[in-house]
């Protein structure tokens, strides 16, 4: 009995040393994920990147038939995003446009680790990040556990997560650069857990006469297209054809290390009004990089450092299958 316990303890210790993370920290990551799927709540959060900050309201309603989540952006161009079981709808009242994203078949996605982590994906995360618990902190009136995910290389960002010590609800998430500098941050300023009724997640807009831009996503494969060298730890998790905005069909390949994801979009150049120059744009932790490959416009979008996104973009190639 004693021996068993001692062995068990040393096994945990060894695993801890080998991977530099405590099972307790990984358990907290699972608790956060679980809370995100299980809880109904309504609150206000601030998104910050650089000198820019934007306030949004978020409401989540869960019942037996699934969950509905609504986000309303309160600053700048009005936007409302409503996710139901089968679609994400983004309402743009000033343009009178609804953009509809249909997730691919959920079971197929779940098999590949999406939309939620699977336990083995969390273990995979531990290969690329040191995951540890930090000191307790207060956020929006909640006592929070902090969880740090420190990347083992410069290909990905670091993260600090602040979760309510009781419910494990994520109150604050900060993305950090290689020197620990703040890249972007989501933080609740007010949150009420529970007590949400269904009418609170209905879209504000009727949108009957609005233009609908549907992603029309479907699984696909693009023989010949791929990366000449993959980014360490990033593997292909999805491949689909779809529309982006009101443009023609586009191929999308998604690579992920379990936490960060990078999408590679491939669109034929023919028929494009504007030749797209190569270049980089960014929003907080997301970088967008475009370049031309073999008569196609390749657009790479990912929540990873600029160099990682560029590396993926520059390794996109077409080999005649």
């Amino acid at each position: 009995m004693m021996l068993g316990r001692a062995l068990g303890f040393s096994a945990v210790l060894c695993a801890g040393i080998a991977q530099a993370q405590s099972p307790e920290a990984l358990a907290w990551l699972r608790r956060i994920q679980d809370a995100t799927h299980r809880l109904s709540y309504t609150g206000t959060f601030v998104y910050q990147n650089g000198s820019r900050s934007e306030t949004s309201r978020i409401t989540r309603y869960v019942d037996a038939s699934g969950d509905i989540e609504k986000v309303e952006v309160m600053d700048g161009v009005p936007r409302e995003i409503v996710r139901t079981r089968d679609a994400v709808r983004c309402y743009l009242p000033e343009a009178r446009v609804v953009k509809v994203e249909h997730p691919l078949d959920r079971s197929a996605m779940a098999e590949r680790g999406f939309p939620s982590f699977l336990p083995e994906r969390i273990n995979e995360l531990a290969k690329h990040y040191d995951i540890a618990l930090g000191p307790n902190e207060r956020v929006a009136g909640f006592d929070c556990r902090t969880l740090t995910l420190k990347p083992k290389d410069e290909l990905r960002y670091g993260h600090t997560l602040y979760a309510d010590a009781n419910s494990a609800m994520l109150l604050k998430a900060a993305t950090l650069g290689p020197q620990g500098e703040l890249i972007e941050q989501f933080m609740f300023t007010q949150l009420v857990i529970g007590g949400v009724s269904r009418d609170k997640v209905r879209p504000r807009h009727v949108a009957q006469s609005w233009r609908v831009e549907d992603s029309a996503a479907a699984p696909a494969s693009f023989p010949g297209w791929g990366l000449s060298s993959e980014l360490p730890g990033f593997r292909k998790v999805a491949e689909l054809k779809r529309r982006v905005g009101d443009a023609g069909p586009v191929g999308q390949m998604v690579y992920s290390d379990g936490l960060a994801a990078v999408s590679v979009f491939i669109a034929p150049m023919e028929g494009r009004r504007d030749p797209a120059p190569a270049g980089l744009a960014s929003v907080g932790a997301i970088h967008i990089y475009t370049r031309q490959v073999a008569n196609h416009m390749v657009t790479v979008v990912g929540e990873a450092p600029a160099a990682s996104v560029q590396r993926i973009a520059n390794s996109v190639e077409f080999r005649r299958p």
């Binding site: 994920q33 997560l161 992920s256 023919e270 490959v293 929540e303 520059n314």
Partner: protein, 169 residues
């Protein structure tokens, strides 16, 4: 008209309509081409080996000319690519054709395109290459695949490139 030719082949047209359509086919215009094409597709689906000599080229041309097909108009020399496809000219293969839009035109040099400029591009001007609205469309298209959504819900969807607000009318 394509529907009607399909109906004719399936014996679904009444005598008068059939006679009229057969007349048009007999005049050798587009109807004849469609009629021929449909029979070839139907033959190949039944694994008939009696495909006529120019089958793949004609199929390729017709598909390339289809307004609904996503492929750009392609060069004649592409028909070798098409032949491989037409060997299994099931409807599934036909559906795949649109996705050859993702295969570059003959003559494009992908390896060259990949290796010739990346170093220069890596230091490309920081100017955003696309309009904010286009960038936002790509952001929206990407977000759903980020595992962050599973720990953070929809909050990451608020990330957008700033847009100039149009004045309210």
């Amino acid at each position: 008209m394509k529907d009607r030719i399909s109906q004719l082949m399936d014996g679904e047209l009444d005598d008068r309509a059939a006679a009229e359509l057969i007349g048009r086919i007999g005049r050798g215009d587009e109807a004849l081409e469609t009629w021929r094409l449909y029979h070839l597709v139907s033959d190949s689906m039944r694994e008939s080996r009696a495909l006529s000599a120019g089958f793949s080229a004609r199929l390729a041309e017709r598909l390339a000319a289809e307004p609904t097909v996503l492929a750009p108009q392609r060069a004649r020399s592409e028909s070798r690519t098409w032949f491989a496809l037409s060997a299994a000219a099931s409807l599934a293969a036909v559906a795949l054709v649109g996705w050859l839009a993702f295969a570059p035109q003959q003559g494009a040099a992908p390896q060259l395109a990949r290796t010739a400029t990346p170093q220069v591009e890596a230091q490309a001007a920081p100017a955003p290459a696309m309009a904010p609205s286009a960038a936002n469309d790509y952001l929206l298209a990407h977000q759903g695949f980020s595992p962050r959504v599973s720990i953070q819900g929809m909050a990451p969807y608020v990330r957008t490139v700033s847009e100039q607000r149009e004045p309210r009318k």
